[in-house]
């Protein structure tokens, strides 16, 4: 006798996620996203998207905010109902359907949050937004980048939430993940050797490059000292081309997919949870 297919289960669980969002007053998460965006906008200088240095600093702050928002969205969502998942898995739930349903729901959530962040940053930097976007109008292009950073961080949160067994553990792990993302972005410290390799698997590194690429950071005002430090490597990282930006976006999408797979694999072991 056949029961609900994987597709049918994705539908059931996606609907459930949205229902729980509405019933559980999930919209409050948008308030925290707005507050974070306002704070970041307040601290970034008036010369974001004007000078090289302020643009890099501003972009780093936007990336940090987006990673925070994304991780916070999901880090407790799966581990918080692990016992329920175990029971439902024993009665026919496909883990892949469950995780995909969450990914669909989180996608919608992240999109709204990216819009909020974009609107607030656009208001703050309205007079000096980058004038030469690569793929879409500037607002939309920044919104896509913000969305992909938030979303890949969100799915990373899902993966962590699938690996750890309690909400407490998830909240203990979260600061470490954030620190790694910040330190390994290449913004604060110059990375060499192993750290440079680790940096390649961080969302922050590619997110920062995507924003700087849109802003054409290397062609913004800079001091002679900064100009003298400008290497080909940096220029390549912030290259203001469609190919480069879309490459950054593709890497962020790949991260989201990879974390999704990690989440599915990790959650398959839910049956082995002890009492």
């Amino acid at each position: 006798m056949q029961h609900a297919s994987r597709m049918a289960q994705i539908k059931i669980y996606t609907k459930k996620c949205f229902r729980l969002f509405i019933n559980g007053k999930g919209w409050t998460t948008f308030i925290s996203a707005a507050i974070i965006a306002v704070i970041i906008s307040a601290v970034t200088g008036d010369k974001t998207f004007v000078t090289y240095n302020d643009t890099r600093n501003g972009a780093f702050a936007f990336v940090c905010a987006c990673i925070w928002i994304g991780l916070f969205n999901s880090i407790q969502s799966i581990c918080g109902e692990r016992d329920i998942i175990k029971r439902e898995h024993r009665t026919g739930l496909h883990i892949s359907s469950y995780v995909l349903a969450h990914m669909i729901y989180e996608m919608a959530l992240c999109l709204i949050e990216a819009l909020i962040v974009t609107v607030i940053i656009s208001i703050r930097n309205g007079s000096h937004m980058p004038e030469d976007p690569l793929i879409f109008p500037i607002g939309m292009e920044l919104c896509v980048t913000f969305f992909l950073i938030i979303y890949s961080s969100d799915v990373l949160g899902l993966a962590i939430s699938s690996i750890v067994k309690t909400a407490n553990t998830a909240m203990t792990v979260m600061p470490f993940v954030l620190i790694i993302q910040l330190v390994m972005s290449g913004m604060i410290f110059k990375l060499e050797g192993i750290t440079e390799q680790i940096a390649k698997i961080t969302i922050s590194k590619w997110g920062l490059q995507a924003i700087c690429s849109t802003a054409d950071a290397v062609n913004l005002e800079m001091t002679p000292a900064q100009y003298s430090l400008m290497t080909d490597e940096i220029k390549k990282s912030y290259e203001h081309t469609v190919g480069h930006l879309s490459g950054m976006w593709a890497i962020l999408i790949a991260f989201a997919m990879l974390y999704g797979v990690v989440s599915i694999i990790a959650l398959k072991f839910v049956d082995k949870d002890k009492r």
């Binding site: 029961h3 297919s5 459930k16 729980l20 109902e81 439902e88 009665t91 739930l93």
Partner: protein
């Protein structure tokens, strides 16, 4: 069979002979007479095939002898003799009596003239050659506040789904001098101790009344009656359940073998660490043990994928999402668990039916987080019931509930079992709900191997007799006691006692 029509009874001859035995154990045993068998008093030196729990029985009391032309009974020179259909036909002769051929429905009794000292010591045995192996015995307590108990094929106090039983067949009622039996103009009549009941008759403890080939035992406090279970048996054959701890194999449960019949509600009792949850998880395939769990012809371990929709499990903690509504919670469970071909209409009907069963129709739009503890628990049951499972497990599902809600939950479980399902329950308040259960499994942790073993499996009256206890709390206290009995800790004493008891019950 048409619902309204009763079939005429015709006595069948030549079937497999059985002996239905009621003694001080408080339940009826059906013993297959597939060879000649002796009866006598149980004890350490007991050497008979059928051990009876009664001090008025001699060590070797009598023998059922299988001959080509039928079954014969011979009293072996017992002290108190044996009555056949209320006539004493033997008492303390040197060689006993010559064997007497038994007929279908004959009632044999061992009684003592001194009924004051040996009250409740009588043994009643019914010889029958028309008995269904799937029969189970149910005890209906006769409470003083109940005036009449109706027996019939339609919804009655004692409902017998047999085409030879009339819709309203007979009644047992409280008359001036005690409980009495009356035939309610049934098609096939009622025999009381072998004599047709033409007008109301007073009942005496030990009386047997018969409708077609169904026998009802009156004990003075209850009526024990047969029901044939429709559905599959759950056969549990666990050799052991072990885990690895610090690179060492630790056995949690050993030698748990028993059969649960369809429609039975079984309580799992035991002290802390005796392995109650381990046993339940092993039975439902949650944590596999070394052994087999057979439901009909399917092994839950090897056929789990096919079986998973037939297993319902309500754990101690509520596995529900607080921000979902009652209806949506059940609806999602229905979408997941019901077959793909189920139409939307059928699904809705099923949801409504389940909400009715658990009495949550009025709360259908409430958020789960706003429900009371009892309502949440009933919702957990509803989620499990939606796929109409045949096996339902409740693991301390009543913990945290007050007395009223706990009873409500168990009454719901009883209703479910009455539909032919098997319900197994672990509860911390056994006595509060004992009346609802058919059987009890008592698990005890052995001091010898530190593993959980079965220390008893049977009806609750049998358990009281087995443990010489007055309540199920008493049983738990006894099994946990560190006092010694025959040089063994109580747990081991009863584990060993049960092994012998089970073998004896099977007539080995």
């Amino acid at each position: 069979m048409e619902d309204g029509r009763t079939m005429y009874y015709r006595e069948r001859h030549g079937g497999q002979p059985y002996l239905l035995v009621l003694d001080r154990r408080g339940s009826v045993r059906a013993i297959r007479l597939d060879r000649s068998k002796t009866i006598g008093r149980e004890g350490a030196d007991c050497s008979v095939d059928i051990a009876l729990t009664s001090p008025i029985t001699s060590r070797r009391h009598g023998e059922f002898i299988l001959k080509p032309d039928g079954v014969y009974y011979q009293d072996l020179g017992s002290t108190n003799g044996t009555y056949l259909n209320k006539t004493l036909f033997s008492k303390q002769t040197e060689i006993g009596t010559p064997p007497i051929k038994l007929n279908n429905g004959d009632i044999l009794r061992i009684e003592c003239e001194d009924k004051t000292e040996y009250k409740n010591s009588s043994v009643v045995m019914v010889f029958t050659n028309n008995f269904d192996e799937k029969t189970d015995w149910v005890t209906k307590n006769l409470q003083d506040n109940v005036g009449e108990i109706h027996i019939g094929r339609k919804q009655s106090d004692i409902q017998i789904k047999n085409e030879m039983v009339s819709q309203n067949h007979a009644k047992v009622f409280q008359a001036h001098r005690g409980w009495a039996l009356a035939d309610e103009h049934s098609t096939n009549g009622v025999l009381l101790n072998g004599i047709a009941v033409s007008r109301p008759q007073y009942l005496s403890p030990g009386d047997v009344f018969r409708i077609a080939d169904l026998y009802f035992f009156y004990t003075g406090e209850s009526i024990i009656y047969p029901i044939v279970r429709n559905g599959e048996n759950l056969v549990i054959q666990i050799k052991e359940r072990s885990v690895m701890q610090k690179m060492k194999k630790v056995i949690l449960l050993q030698d748990a073998n028993l059969t649960v019949l369809p429609g039975e509600m079984v309580m799992i009792l035991g002290g802390s660490g005796a392995g109650k949850t381990t046993f339940m998880n092993a039975v439902m395939g949650y944590e596999k043990a070394d052994g087999k769990i057979l439901y009909g012809d399917k092994d839950i371990y090897t056929d789990y994928e096919k079986m998973k929709y037939q297993i319902g499990y309500v754990p101690q903690q509520d596995l529900l999402r607080g921000s979902d509504t009652v209806y949506d919670t059940v609806n999602d469970a229905a979408c997941l668990k019901l077959p793909r071909k189920t139409s939307k209409e059928e699904r809705k009907q099923r949801i409504e039916k389940v909400l009715d069963i658990v009495n949550l129709r009025e709360q259908r739009n409430h958020l789960v987080s706003k429900l009371s503890g009892g309502e949440r628990k009933r919702l957990s049951v509803a989620v499990e019931l939606i796929a109409d499972p045949s096996l339902i497990f409740l693991d301390e599902a009543d913990s945290g509930l007050d007395g009223k809600h706990s009873e409500e939950l168990m009454e719901n479980a009883r209703k479910i079992a009455n539909d032919g399902k098997i319900v197994m329950v672990i509860t911390h308040s056994p006595d509060r709900v004992a009346r609802l259960f058919d059987k009890v499994i008592v698990l005890a942790k052995s001091a010898r191997d530190h593993a959980g073993h079965i220390a008893f499996y049977g009806s609750i009256p049998e358990a009281y007799h087995f443990f010489k206890a007055e309540s199920l709390d008493d049983v738990v206290r006894i099994i946990n006691s560190k006092e010694l009995e025959n040089g063994k800790e109580m747990a081991d004493y009863y584990i060993d006692k049960y092994k012998k008891y089970a073998a004896d019950k099977e007539g080995k």
